[in-house]
């Protein structure tokens, strides 16, 4: 069936099977490979993207369910001239990654977390990211990155474009 979805600020219309998962749509139809598929069972959070302002696990959402919605992936965060989003910059600054597989999901979930709680404690970061697993166990630096990103103010909890990330 035909769906129209705004992906990273760009409206596009695609003919998709109803059973196509949003994660597969983003990777294969849109060619946006930052969104990783890890566990494929709603556990690991590697596929986290933002749909209409809320972080979701795209392996457990059908592409057709997002018809009419705004979807933001990691590729939609940096500006056209390459300036990183505050959360991306903080992950880089604090080395909030080891192998990098969980990183796109961690960054998107962190934006959702900071939208909800602009100045979280370490514990609140850990609880807010409980849906994202790092198999390298690089959590210390991830938590530090989110705390650093929080210092950038409200911009850390926003994604570019019209949509507001909500609690």
């Amino acid at each position: 069936m035909q769906v129209t979805i705004t992906v990273n600020g760009e409206q596009r219309t695609d003919d998709v099977e109803p059973r196509l998962l949003l994660a597969h749509y983003l990777r294969e139809e849109c060619g946006l490979k930052a969104t990783n598929i890890g566990c494929d069972t709603t556990s690991c959070g590697a596929c986290t993207v933002i749909v209409d302002g809320l972080s979701v696990k795209s392996c457990t959402v059908l592409a057709v369910q997002t018809a009419g919605a705004q979807v933001t992936t990691l590729e939609g965060l940096a500006t056209a001239d390459g300036e990183l989003h505050p959360v991306q910059a903080a992950f880089r600054e604090e080395h909030g990654l080891q192998c990098g597989f969980c990183t796109p999901g961690m960054v998107m979930a962190s934006i959702g977390l900071l939208a909800d709680n602009p100045d979280p404690t370490d514990r609140e970061v850990r609880e807010g990211l409980e849906g994202n697993l790092c198999r390298c166990t690089g959590y210390h630096n991830i938590v530090r990155a989110v705390r650093t990103a929080a210092q950038a103010g409200p911009a850390a909890g926003r994604v570019p474009g019209a949509q507001e990330v909500q609690a």
Binding site: L21, T42, V61, Q65, L113, E130
Partner: protein
């Protein structure tokens, strides 16, 4: 993992949902947040040929108090998502157990999608919100071709993924008594973040409900009777696993689940009593 093919129908009202259910019959499944159904479909444990997407029905998303005084109830639209319930001011003031438990379901991303009606209809014995609803009492409001009916929560969850609903019905609302300032407790035991409870216990107003101690969420009736007869919390909680039939799996054997049921019941009752 990719589900079997199906047709997808998005509906905008309860009436449209009921018409679609009537048209497609038992081959159809209702899709709300999808965080119970889609994982089952990916494993091909569920193979509906039609999905009716009810997530865009605005009339199903609300929390409000209806009636007044002792008869007042909190009415929650079935489409209310966990993260909405978690933050809802009315729910926090009138029935605080429920938003607290909503905040313990899965993880933030799951709570952004999952709905109270969906978890109610799904009837997983390990689900948090049905456990809380069962302890609170109240009713599940169903709408079908013959109109609306209310089923007491004590009669709703009948077994593993089984409920008192007919295939042509839809959960439209949960109605729970106001508890206001009454004490309450919820104890959820997991070994991993964002997991289902291995066992959970909810306590409020002398009632106790347990998750994952049988085919469906259930009440700890022996504990409740002992409390009503004046037993201490410790003595009443020691009976919590009576009449239950917990499974053994990789997380816990049945005896360990029985131990957890007794322990978590005591803790939940102590929290509810302010002890």
């Amino acid at each position: 993992m990719i589900p079997s093919p199906f047709d997808y129908v998005r509906v905008g009202s309860v009436d449209e949902a009921l018409s679609a259910l009537a048209e497609h019959g038992e081959d159809a499944k209702l899709l709300a947040g999808g965080h119970s159904l889609l994982p089952l479909m990916k494993l091909r444990l569920a193979v509906p040929t039609v999905l009716i997407d009810i997530s865009g029905i605005p009339e199903l998303s609300y929390v409000r108090v209806e009636g007044s005084g002792a008869d007042a109830v909190v009415a929650i639209g079935a489409g209310t998502r966990h993260h909405e319930l978690e933050r809802d001011e009315v729910a926090r003031a009138e029935v605080p157990l429920l938003p607290h438990v909503a905040g313990l379901v899965g993880d933030p991303q799951v709570r952004h999608r999952g709905t109270i009606g969906g978890t109610t209809a799904h009837s997983d014995p390990a689900s948090d919100l049905p456990t809380a609803l069962l302890a609170l009492g109240g009713t599940v409001v169903l709408q079908g071709p013959g109109g609306r009916r209310e089923v007491p929560v004590t009669e709703f969850w009948t077994g593993f993924f089984e409920t008192a609903m007919s295939p042509d019905e839809l959960v439209v609302e949960l109605r729970v008594p106001r508890t206001g300032a009454l004490g309450w407790g919820y104890e959820k035991f997991t070994r991993r973040a964002n997991d289902w409870p291995i066992v959970a216990a909810a306590a409020v107003d002398g009632r106790v409900a347990l998750a994952n101690m049988g085919g469906a969420v259930l009440r700890a009736t022996a504990t409740e009777k002992a409390l009503a007869a004046g037993a201490s919390i410790a003595d009443a909680a020691a009976l919590a696993d009576q009449g239950t039939s917990p499974v053994a799996d990789m997380h816990a054997d049945a005896d360990y689940r029985r131990h957890l049921a007794r322990l978590l019941t005591r803790r939940a009752l102590e929290t509810a009593a302010g002890a």
